[in-house]
Symmetry: none
Subunit: 259 residues, 2 copies
């Protein structure tokens, strides 16, 4: 892709939750999906007797459209029948390993085919995850790197992490928002503007006898480094210079009263 | 670091939750933290009458040690007083922008100083997030890239995403240093030290009639933002305060000559 994808289309990607015990987790998963722009949710044999369950609705907040679109399937095979790519979440390494991806790699794999292929991302039961049989139905496994001393992820938290990586992968076609100064409300000061400020500061520091004009080096260097690091914008430099001018005026006023 | 950090130490990093309404969210946040290896949780004025609340314990699953270690603070200022770096979560852009990071950049920023500096990652209220006043106390804002049509993130989901990025950043063999403080010759000033400087600055600005004490808001905010961005080290704060003291002395000297 060459243009930023600000509203990625995840229509061919389904999130599959297998035998979820707590409807509240389904609702929270639906909310996480919608936060990240996903909409298709498939439930394999959910354990709540009635569907949609009340707790699911409560936890879904305003993601009720995701719940309304839920498809219920009797088995994982049925849930993924039309898919080209199936990735299953795994909390631990198994004795017959399938290619194991981290969330970033899984998202990249999905991003590469999202527009053209049907994809399923499968999450297991709250307590026991996916069975070995179910994991064998997956092309890849994905493992969220957790604290080895506490690996029990909440289901909706796991859905959140993977949907977040999916969205990130989709948005990365566009500009990454790393420490962006794009939305700053003012232009940064130029080097010359900052230099004028530093020269003004030096004068005032001499006036208030904070700076010995015969030995200014180390202090002025430190102040220059400080204000260069800050990269003040124009309005900020104007404020800083205004403070210096006000200091000079206040000093002069007291001086004049003297004469 | 040259070797992978398989059990990153997050002892100097605190997660701060401001005025959380639902104790269940606190429990779920504690669980997410422990999943990612974090342990220090600070609650600012939690809304549940009794603490620890029952729902928090239920949602924490086995992360009870995190709940047991909770510190409750009356205000955000108190919660972050000893910190060198404060990053606040923001759901939207504000009219006076602070440097905005995405979660990856925020995690990289924290990773660069995690071993040596006290850091706070601050999350706001479920409905309304952090107030403008609270956001002004932060050096950076971090924004999770969400579906613009549905930006309402569950609190624990937001904690999960950021803790996950922190763990990822720590597990990367060569952490990316966004703005390294490693080679700096001085520790950065704490929040409290900078606050004392800003209070002193305010006094002097009133004295030199640059600041109208009846209408200080916008100017003081801009100055706070400026000096937070700079993250001055201790020696620099001492220099800045020395300038203020010298200004006062110079003013007083001229005043005295007058009498």
């Amino acid at each position: 892709m060459t243009t930023p994808d600000t509203a990625p289309n995840f229509d061919k990607l389904r999130i599959v939750l297998v035998e979820t015990s707590h409807p509240g987790n389904i609702g929270a998963a639906a909310r996480a999906m919608k936060n990240m722009g996903l909409t298709r949710l498939v439930l394999v044999n959910p354990q709540a007797k009635a569907w949609p369950a009340r707790e699911a609705v409560a936890m879904a907040a305003s993601a009720l459209d995701v719940l309304d679109g839920v498809v219920v399937a009797p088995t994982l095979e049925a849930a993924i029948a039309g898919c080209h790519l199936v990735i299953g979440t795994s909390a631990r390494l198994r004795n017959m390993p399938v290619q194991l991806l981290d969330p970033v790699a899984a998202a990249a794999r999905i991003e590469g085919v999202r527009a053209t292929q049907d994809v399923a991302l499968v999450f297991g039961r709250e307590i026991s995850g996916l069975s070995n049989e179910e994991l064998h139905l997956c092309h890849y496994h994905v493992h969220i790197p957790v604290n080895p001393d506490y690996t029990s992820l909440n289901l909706a938290a796991a859905v959140m992490v993977l949907c977040y990586e999916l969205r990130k992968a989709a948005l990365q076609a566009g500009p990454v928002l790393a420490a962006s100064a794009l939305d700053w409300d003012q232009l940064p000061a130029t080097v010359a503007e900052l230099d004028r400020y530093l020269a003004h500061l030096e004068q005032v520091l001499i006036q208030i006898e904070f700076l010995d004009p015969n030995n200014p080096r180390q202090l002025l260097r430190r102040l220059r480094r400080l204000y260069q690091r800050i990269q003040p914008d124009r309005m900020e430099v104007n404020i800083l210079r205004g403070i210096l001018t006000a200091t000079e005026t206040a000093l002069a006023k007291r001086e004049q009263r003297n004469t």
